[in-house]
Structures are given as structure tokens and as C-alpha cells.
Amino acid sequence: MSGRVIVITSGKGGVGKTTTNANIGTALARMGKKVVMIDTDLGLRNLDLLLGLENRIVYTIVDVVEERCKLKQALVKDKKNPNLCLLAAAQTRDKTAVTEEQLKDICERLQKDFDFILVDCPAGIEQGFQNAVAGASEAIVVTTPEMSAVRDADRIIGLLEAKEEIKSYKLLLNRVRPNLIKSNDMMSVDDVVEILSADLIGIIPEDTGIITSTNKGEPIVNDEKSLAGKAYNNVARRIIGEDVPFLDLEEPQGVMAKVKKFFSGLIGEKR
């Protein structure tokens, strides 16, 4: 088995890289894929919190690199899903504790046992980014429909294109607010896609449920009712090659329209 190594990156901080990582990883694991997530944000780890695994971490990626433990020992199994593992970042060290070569080596070793290796990249374009990208052959660029996030995404895309190892990259548009787009106060999905001219792999609506799910340490894809959860699930399905249409995020007006939309949505989903 040779797993796919996908780096999840954005340039700008706070656009939802780690949330995306936790949700795509969980969704893929729910589909029966063996998934390992690597948090490379040394010194600022957060993926463990989003997965509710913060109390189970014994060894980190730095311990693996400095040979204080075996790679297998450092993998933390998810509470619910045995297919899902986390290789946590060290909280007490900085980005120089792991090199590009070492990360590449870890990815190569994990490829033998897992279908997917999702690398959570730190914000910025410095060494932390270079490290995270080193072992990957695919990338998901997370951005939001805001100027600063799009500009940073453009920088990241430029850097990814210059990397020979990165064979493909896809755009994930996060925190989309349909009502703002409708009132012409937010760039639309089409605007962003056109400006960045990249292929889209997902559109995730802004969802307050993300906050509560982070509070609980449980990714929102576990919540069947959540629209954001559904959108993340669709991203996972697209990753494994399914052809899934993008969700219609336009909020219907009025109660009757909502009811109608709900039923037509159900029919649409079954088809």
C-alpha cells in the first residue's frame, strides 16, 4: 500500500486549515480509509484539541525524529474511529526541530500503512511551510472569500507550482456566507475561483456549529445535520474520486420556501 500524502495549507492564519484537516481526516476515516494526520505546527499545535485528543498525547513528532520513541508509538488513535491516527506536534519546540528531510522520511514510512497522510501546515511561507510541503505530492489550499486570505492563497499557489513534488493542488473555499454574497458584500465563489484560477474541491459555509464542535473536541462531520459537516464530507468524497456536485448554499427566503427547499434537497441528494 502506498498512501496519498496531502498537505493542507493556506498562507494566512485563521482561515480554517486545522479545522479542514480534522474534518477531512475524520470523514475519510468514516468511509473506511486508514488515515493519519500530522500536525507540523511545532510550538502552536491545535489539531489535537479539534479532535479531542489533547490528553492522550505521549510522544510527538519531535520525539520520533530524535529517536526517543518508535514512529508507531507516537501515533495517537482517535477515540471513536480506529482508522484515524494523529501524529502530534511538539508544543515546546520551534519549527527548526524537524527538517524537510526528516518529514519526508516520516511520510514515506507512513505511506506503507495508511491510505491517507494529511499534513497540517502552519501559517506563513517560512520553514514551517517548507517542511510541511516536503513529503507531500498533493495540496489543498484553504482560503476564505476575503482579500487578505485570497492574496495569501495566491502566494501559496505560486510556491506550490514551483515545487516539483507537488503534482496537484485544489482550492477549498471556507467560511462562505451566502447572505453576504447575495447582498454583494462578499466575493462569490466564482470570483475567487476566477481570480486564483485553481480547481475547486469544496465550498464550506460559515457555520456556528464549528465553534461548538471545537469546544467539544469533535469534528463537525460527525454531526449529520450540519451543512458545514455535509460540505466537508463531500470534500472527502471528491478526494477519493467521487463526482459530487457542490452544495447549494443559497439560503431560501421564508418558511414555505425553506420547507420546499428541504424536500427538494432530499430528492436531490438521493439522486
Partner: protein, 170 residues
Amino acid sequence: MILQNFYNKIIGFFRQTDTEVEESSKDTARNRLRVVLMQDRTNLTPELMERMRKEMVELLSRYVEMDKEALELNLEQDGEQVALMLSIPVIRAKDEEEIKATLAEEDAKKAKEAEEAEESEESEDTDETEEKEETEEVQEEESSEEEIFELTEEKTEKEPPKEQKLKEEK
């Protein structure tokens, strides 16, 4: 009720004019982004833009007298595309004599510079190659003079326009 109606009408009136006058904030964002990404992607730093501006001034002032300080060179949003906009406030079009004079001056300057460059090169070179280079030099000068003469004839036939906007679409 009447008061409320009145209020709504006033509000409605202001809203209408708002949407008519201003572009939506989304369009502003999109257009600003296009320009900024253009700059990001092309490595055209402010210093390079300034240099380009200066070179433009130098080149164009051979043919027209213009307000050098007011010359603007910017990347701008032009409909769906980003354009390189050059706006030149022309004071006066130069006449044929003047243009010829400035070109001749430029030409002399260039020839002098070339000579100096040759001299400095020659001092580094060995004696054997010296003679050859000298003959080449003479030939080059002759041909360049001819070219420039042709150019002046072409240019002087047309009157330069008062306000020129050059576009280079990318």
C-alpha cells in the same frame, strides 16, 4: 402609519441612490485584489515601476514636451483585464527641427559612450585583437546612424497626439 410610510420612503430614496452611485464592496474587493495580485505576480516592485516611469519620460521627451512630474504609470483595472496605464500630460508637441536636434544629441552621446566603453575594453585586451575591433567599431557606428535617421523621418511625419494613453494588456 403615515409616519412610517414617510420614513420608509425616505430610507428607500437614500438606499436607491446609494446603490446607484457606489459599486458594491464585493466589486471593490475584487478589483483591488486583481491589481494587487498583478503586482505580486509580476515582481514589479515600486522601484522597478519608478525606473520604468523614468525610462518612459526619457524616451518620450525626445518627441514631445511634457509635464514630467505629472506622468503617471500604473497598473489599473480596466474592465475585465488589468492594464498598464500611461497617462502623459503633453505641454507642446515638438517640431521637426527640435526632434532632429535632440535625436542627434542622443546619438552623439551614445557614440561617445560606446567609444569610451570600447576604449576601456581595449585597454584590457591584448594587442592582437585591437586592430580588428577598431574596424568593427567604425562599421557599427555607421549603421546605427542610418537607422536613427530613418526613424526621425517616420516620426516627424505624424504629429504626436495631445494626450496619449498607452495600453499594454496582459
